[in-house]
């Protein structure tokens, strides 16, 4: 069985996880004397806090403290926000609550059961205010203002112009317009948030543990809120995490809250979120209203685009928001060669839970609008949808391709990917199924979606939010640094640490594969430890697991670290084997002469040399005990003066195609067949890659058909349990046929790109297009629940 990079090596993670030996945050030991916290949350979406009376709760045995906003504002600062706007958020509400579920007070007691009991005794009086939940209405002058100091709910408006969109629209044969609404949802990891904190008054430092996922650019945000320098806010992240999908970034306000509670009580404090809290208040993807229009020729060529994107971040702009609006910015034209585009980005705040990171991160919102528009272009011009797609794809000869808004697409052959996907009888099958269904009077539709999937974010992308002048003042932001360290122990054993957080992606396995490959070992010979300690591990602000940075980033750093070790070991071995370093190779646990393989020595002997006899090293060589690979690709430049930004480092390609049928009795959308074509460059471990694709696919289906956070007009949250918020089970997830094409990235030594988010972006668009085809409708609101489908059909006379 091959264990090489590029093969499906079985996961090193699995035996422990299958045996109940995982070490998740709530499994880890806590310091003696740890107290337990329970968060009291606002029942109102918008209200002034009139008074909080903790007396009765404090009188109970075992209750240590009831902490309020007034307590924490004295000893902490509001969280830093990307936008220079007076939107102040502390880890507890101060004076006013702005969403149902907002933390108002923290009860700290000897056990969680006691803390929950005591919470019932805390008397809180609120003066309710009018709430605003609709993003469009929130921009109106008459709307209640969430943050009076900001004077408006529409806290940021930026206009961008690339190329000559005006003349493109003048030249066009036709203008096609659409308004698209993307809803709120979360991918709710099965493990909820956990935070444990200790405070040491002797040196004013905090020692925290949480299932935080990164980005580590949030670490300074936490440290600043706690009013300490970064090294005095030590954060440890456990070796296992029960899923994340972007969501566990949002544990960070609770890390700060636990830290403050530890300072106030003088005892370590632990908080474990429950599912009801998680659904109510943890995190949501932002909802977005996009007005999009295309200037097209009559044969379907897109000459120019205009987009007005209004994104709703809920009650606060938590770091690094408004990321979803800007993360895709350079690639806003998707897979199409469109040189002219005007974009308006608006950020609005409403009385809903704050939005934050979520797998796909801005992609689902962008592509639902763009891909629905392309389908509409075909309908309005009387052309075939697929023909319009093909006419506009970026042609292969243009790579590396400079997209209008600044992304540099590294590699790809989009037309070939599309041809492969529709070939093999796959499209013919869908057409046959559609014909048969329609002949029988049933509603069947075919959908397509084209997605360019970015990976590894440019740390400067969010500064596109600022004007060029403001950026100049703030200093340049750009790049993305990845770091991996490979260590050699005295007996030549190899171990690895890396700047990622574990969430289930199989990083341990893939890192072992990469390092083993360079050192002539097997993945089983390489130990990988991925728990993280900000005080002792290597990290940059880019660290963490998000935006598919592992494959184009950390994996490359691992390759570099292992290559550095290999080069030095060759030097050491050359001296011992009495050959030139160029003649040395590392193979099968041996280090040997290429020209005379019998002249060999074991890997472990050479690898241990720097421990046991550093004096014997070749002249001038420093001991080789650990090497850190540091990778920072030069392509990630800061935004230019004309606002072009290469938002990400690699750009994969996804082409999806599906057939759906509407059940005539239940109005359910049934996926008949789904095909997903991926070009993510070189695949490092096909089994793990397909696992990521299947996981993203299921979440894409969930977003398209099932999951939605519902807040009513008054601001009450209606989806607070798994009985109301419908996470698909096995019966709801259709099969997906995955096809790969490999166009290696020329910018990374591994040629590999990210691939774990593409289907979160493509599936909602593809299914929405299929529904539009099935019902002949223009507006398809997701999730396309039976109730919505029934309403659509009633409106269009399709209900029998």
């Amino acid at each position: 069985m091959s264990q090489r990079l590029g093969t499906s090596v079985a996961r090193k993670e699995d035996p422990a996880l299958l045996s109940g030996r995982g070490r998740y945050a709530d499994d880890l030991p806590v310091p003696a004397g740890t107290l337990h916290a329970h968060v009291i949350r606002s029942p109102h979406p918008h209200a002034d806090i009139v008074s909080i009376d903790p007396a009765e709760a404090l009188a109970k045995d075992g209750v240590w403290a009831v902490i309020t906003g007034d307590d924490i504002r004295k000893i902490s600062d509001p969280f830093l926000v990307a936008l220079k706007s007076p939107i102040h958020q502390w880890s507890l509400a101060v004076d006013r609550v702005r969403f149902a579920g907002e933390p108002v007070a923290l009860v700290v007691a000897e056990s969680r059961y006691l803390a929950e009991d005591a919470a019932e005794l805390v008397q809180i009086e609120y003066a309710p205010l009018e709430a605003i939940v609709d993003p469009v209405a929130a921009c109106k002058p008459s709307a209640p203002i969430l943050h009076p100091d900001a004077k408006t709910n529409e806290v940021s408006v930026r206009k961008f112009a690339y190329g000559d969109t005006k003349s493109a629209f003048e030249r066009a044969d036709r203008i096609v317009k659409l308004t698209v609404d993307f809803h709120r949802l979360s991918f709710t990891p099965m493990e909820c948030f956990v935070a444990v904190a200790q405070y040491n008054p002797a040196n004013d430092s905090y020692d925290c543990m949480a299932n935080f996922q990164g980005p580590f650019s949030t670490h300074p945000v936490m440290a600043r809120a706690l009013r300490v320098p970064g090294p005095k806010m030590r954060l440890r992240i456990p070796p296992d995490s029960g899923g994340s999908f972007g969501i566990k970034l949002s544990v960070f306000p609770y890390v700060v809250l636990a830290a403050l509670a530890a300072k106030i009580t003088g005892r370590p404090v632990k908080w474990v979120e429950d599912r009801a809290e998680h659904l109510l208040a943890a995190s949501s993807g932002p909802n977005r209203v996009t007005e999009i229009e295309a200037a097209v020729t009559k044969d379907g060529k897109i000459l120019g685009l205009k987009m007005d994107q209004l994104e709703d971040y809920g009650a606060f702009l938590r770091a690094p928001m408004p990321g979803p609006l800007y993360r895709m910015h350079g690639a806003v034209t998707g897979g199409y060669d469109v040189p002219n585009i005007d974009v308006i980005n608006r950020v609005v705040l409403t009385n809903k839970m704050p939005a934050s990171l979520i797998r796909g991160f801005g992609g689902p919102q962008l592509y639902l609008a763009l891909e629905r528009l392309v389908q509409r272009i075909a309908i309005e011009l009387g052309l075939d949808h697929l023909e319009v797609i093909k006419r506009n794809l970026v042609p292969p000869e243009k790579f590396p391709y400079h997209a209008a808004a600044g992304s540099l697409y590294d590699s790809g052959d989009y037309p070939r990917a599309v041809e492969t996907a529709i070939g093999g009888g796959r499209l013919d099958y869908l057409k046959k199924r559609r014909d048969e269904a329609r002949a029988a009077g049933r509603k069947y539709g075919i959908g397509f979606a084209v997605v360019v999937e970015p990976a590894m974010s440019n740390m400067g992308y969010l500064s596109t939010l600022l004007t060029p002048e403001a950026r100049d003042k703030a200093g340049p932001k750009n790049g993305a640094t990845s770091m991996v360290t490979v260590n050699l122990d005295p007996l030549g054993a190899v171990s690895v640490t890396a700047d990622v957080t574990v969430q289930g992606q199989g990083h341990e396995t893939v890192l072992a594969q990469i390092v083993a490959e360079q050192l002539g070992l097997t993945p089983g010979d390489v130990d990988v430890t991925l728990e993280m300690d900000t005080a002792k591990d290597q990290w940059s602000i880019a660290a963490g697991t998000y935006s598919c940075r592992f494959t184009p980033g950390t994996a490359v750093a691992a390759h570099m670290a292992a290559s550095q070790i290999a080069a030095k070991l060759k030097g050491i071995a050359a001296k011992q084997l009495n050959v030139l370093p160029d003649d040395v190779e590392l193979v099968g646990g041996r280090i040997r002469s290429r020209s005379n393989p019998d002249n060999a020595v074991s890997f472990s002997r050479i690898a241990g040399t720097s421990h046991w006899s550093p004096v014997m090293l070749p002249d001038g060589m420093a001991p080789v005990i650990s090497e850190t690979g540091v990778w920072n690709p030069p392509e990630l430049a800061p935004p230019s003066g004309d606002d072009r930004i290469n938002t990400s480092f690699t750009y994969g390609f996804v082409f999806d195609m599906c057939g759906i049928e509407i059940d005539p009795i239940t109005y359910q959308v049934k996926v008949d067949r789904y095909v997903s074509m991926h070009d993510a460059g070189k695949i490092l471990n096909p089994m793990i890659a397909d696992g990521q694709i299947r996981g993203a696919f299921a979440q894409g289906v969930a977003a398209a058909l099932y999951e939605e956070f519902v807040t009513n007009e008054e601001g009450a949250f209606l989806t607070g349990t798994f009985a109301d918020y419908l996470v698909p089970t096995v019966s709801e997830i259709p099969e997906v046929e995955i096809i790969h094409q490999e166009t290696p990235s020329p910018f990374t030594p591994l040629g590999a790109k990210g691939l774990a988010e593409g289907n979160c972006m493509s599936v909602p668009a593809c299914i929405a297009n299929a529904i539009a085809d099935a019902l002949g409708v223009k507006d398809v609101q997701l999730p396309a629940t039976p109730r919505r489908i029934h309403a659509l059909m009633a409106q269009h006379g399709g209900v029998r």
């Binding site: 299958l18 045996s19 109940g20 709530d26 099965m190 493990e191 296992d240 089970t729």
Partner: protein, 172 residues
């Protein structure tokens, strides 16, 4: 079941994975909390605490139950089995566990112990299930990572519906 006052702490004894154990607890303590925090068996996970996700599934006297919907007291004197019991000597994975690894049926692994405990019970009672029956039982669990395809493949292998020598996932 014995009668206790709700505020009085009680000693609860049970057999966990073949070993007699006991600890003090409030009568209202959930079995999931008791196993994890009083007995240190952290392999059993809690994903919703309202009976929907299946993460917390353990067996009591051989029957799969949701430990978040069970009071610790209800397990008094009974045999509780958790995921920690499944592997053989030296940590050797059993057939079901091995099938999960073969088919990449887990990513974060948080849902996995509950699924393993459900199917350990189910396959013991129904050793020759159909694919539909497997799907029905799996429908009682939520996995957020995998999209379920790998889990179904693993269950089919474990139930003998597919050949163990031809895994679809790993070992290409």
């Amino acid at each position: 079941m014995r009668r206790v006052n709700k505020d009085q702490r009680v000693r609860i004894s049970l057999t966990l994975n073949g070993r007699k154990m006991s600890a003090d607890a409030e009568p209202r303590m959930l079995l999931s909390d008791f196993l994890r925090h009083s007995l240190g068996a952290t392999g059993t996970h809690v994903g919703c605490e309202h009976g929907v996700c299946g993460c917390c599934t353990v067996q009591i006297d051989g029957t799969a139950v949701r430990s978040c919907l069970t009071l610790a007291m209800q397990a008094e004197g009974r045999e509780v089995t958790t995921v920690e019991s499944l592997a053989g000597p030296g940590g050797k994975l059993n057939k079901l566990q091995q099938a999960f690894q073969n088919h990449h049926a887990l990513q974060c692994g948080f849902c996995t112990p509950g699924i393993l405990m459900s199917f350990t019970d189910y396959l013991a009672r129904n050793p020759k299930p159909t694919e539909e029956e497997l799907r029905d039982v799996l429908g009682g669990h939520i996995c957020r990572c995998t999209g379920y395809a790998g889990i179904m493949a693993a269950l089919k292998e474990a139930a003998g519906l597919t050949n163990a020598n031809e895994p679809t996932g790993a070992k290409s």
